[in-house]
């Protein structure tokens, strides 16, 4: 499997990367950890003639937390996310999900920015970022703009980013202390994409659900923010009836294709099961269990 040839660039700053993207237009592609793009290039589904490797841009490797916001540089790897105490303390669902991505070797390479940016519906981080209400910083020749994760995904591999922009940072509002969370993923084996997966973050107040946010992985052209499913829980005691309503709402928006993971009906059903499990786990964590 030999990819098409390309010219290799290794910029040392975001500005330099942007000017290369501007110069090469749709012939240029950014390369981060490479574990999405290189397989596409091997099968020649992608054949950029200029590959812009951003590994040397140290500014994009920081994890930070200030003012109720967790910031992840685009080049933070899954392995670094798993090892980060800041992440474990403020937003543990990120660690839980990262541990379900691929395998150790791939997690050393795979980056948060690459996972959220490229629009592969199989990736786990996009639904998670929708669930968390994250925003993506996109830097281009005219400066920076922010796009909400919930607005970023348009279709499989089509997103709101422009050709001359670099996704530099993911900004996550830190969930309230004591929140419940879970990322439940059904996969056939280590390294597989989800048959279906669900991210849940919820908070309780006086035994009732004060807020709930739910999103689904790999059961549509894009990750899906299951707004109605979350709303079905708010105000309830998260009892069986409320959970059933949330599961039904999640199943209703799930629109998976048939693939080797199963036919659409099965995968939709799995999306419901994952949603139920994630809600139950999140609930028990919110109660301190």
């Amino acid at each position: 499997m030999i990819p098409a040839n390309f010219e290799y660039h290794r910029p040392s700053s975001v500005d330099e990367a942007i000017s290369l993207l501007t110069r090469y237009g749709d012939e240029g592609r950014l390369l981060a950890g490479g574990h999405s793009l290189i397989p596409l290039m091997k099968t020649r589904l992608a054949a950029p003639s200029h590959l812009i490797d951003i590994q040397a841009i140290d500014d994009l490797k920081q994890v930070g937390e200030a003012g109720g916001e967790l910031t992840l540089g685009a080049l933070v790897t899954q392995a670094e996310l798993i090892a980060s105490e800041t992440v474990a303390d403020t937003c543990p669902i990120l660690r839980e999900a990262a541990l379900l991505i691929a395998d150790p070797q791939v997690r050393y390479c795979g980056t948060v920015g690459g996972n959220v940016a490229n629009g592969d519906p199989g990736n786990d981080m996009p639904a998670l970022m929708m669930c968390l209400g994250a925003r993506y910083a996109l830097q281009g020749p005219d400066g920076e703009r922010e796009v909400a994760a919930r607005d970023y995904y348009e279709a499989a591999y089509f997103t709101a980013i422009n050709e001359d922009e670099v996704l530099t940072e993911v900004r996550i509002p830190v969930p309230a202390a004591g929140h419940g969370y879970a990322y439940s993923k059904m996969k056939r084996k280590v390294g597989d994409y989800a048959t279906a997966a669900t991210a849940v973050v919820l908070t309780l107040k006086g035994g009732k659900c004060a807020s709930a946010s739910i999103a689904l992985t790999n059961v549509g052209q894009t990750p899906l923010f299951a707004e109605a499913a979350g709303q079905a829980l708010v105000g309830s005691a998260v009892d069986g009836k409320a959970i059933a309503a949330a599961v039904a709402a999640a199943e209703q928006i799930a629109d998976p294709v048939s693939d080797m993971r199963g036919p659409p009906d099965f995968r939709r059903h799995v999306a419901g099961v994952m949603t139920q499990r994630a809600i139950e786990t999140a609930l028990s964590r919110a109660k301190g269990g």
């Binding site: 030999i2 290799y8 290794r10 574990h35 290189i38 397989p39 395998d103 150790p104 070797q105 390479c109």
Partner: protein, 163 residues
């Protein structure tokens, strides 16, 4: 397109050569440097037979362009027994029958090396998770887990004896 001048340190030795940037690291190691220990199994980053250590991390060298590894430090199975004496991990795999056909073994050993650097005393579960990116089609993994434990104990004993 032009070839690139590639320099890297492989098993402590500086090497260089010309290569197209699209060349995969595994091909550079095997075909240019003659280091055929790392194997090409699936070539799709699933099987782990091509695992090498790159800048202190285990990577699947079939999914790294040689251009990305320009300037890097690489360790392969060939670097594990520089003085002709088996490394504790290699000894573990022989003593505990951690291999049958041996195809996956160079990748298993390089991954084990990094795992034990990060976690010198792993539990059985941590070993299984740590090696989950390496597929073995012969052993059923039981003896590989034992081999890793053997190596961990031997390396820890050697460390204690040195202190």
């Amino acid at each position: 397109m032009a070839k690139m001048h590639i320099e890297m340190t492989v098993n402590g030795r500086s090497v260089d050569g010309l290569a197209e940037p699209r060349m995969l690291l595994i091909h550079f190691l095997r075909e240019r440097l003659g280091l055929t220990g790392a194997h090409i199994g699936c070539e799709t980053s699933h099987c782990g037979a091509c695992t090498v250590d790159l800048n202190g991390q285990s990577v699947k060298s079939c999914t790294v362009f040689v251009a990305q590894a320009n300037g890097a430090e690489v360790s392969t199975i060939e670097g594990m027994a520089p003085a002709g004496e088996l490394h504790a991990i290699q000894e573990g795999f022989t003593q505990e029958h951690g291999l049958q056909c041996g195809f996956c073994t160079p990748g298993m050993i390089m991954r084990t090396y990094r795992l034990l650097q990060e976690n010198p005393d792993p539990t059985e579960e941590e070993i299984r998770v740590g090696l989950s990116g390496n597929i073995c089609r012969c052993t059923g993994y039981q003896n590989i887990v034992k081999a890793v434990r053997y190596a961990a104990e031997k390396m820890n004993a050697a460390k204690e004896a040195a202190e």
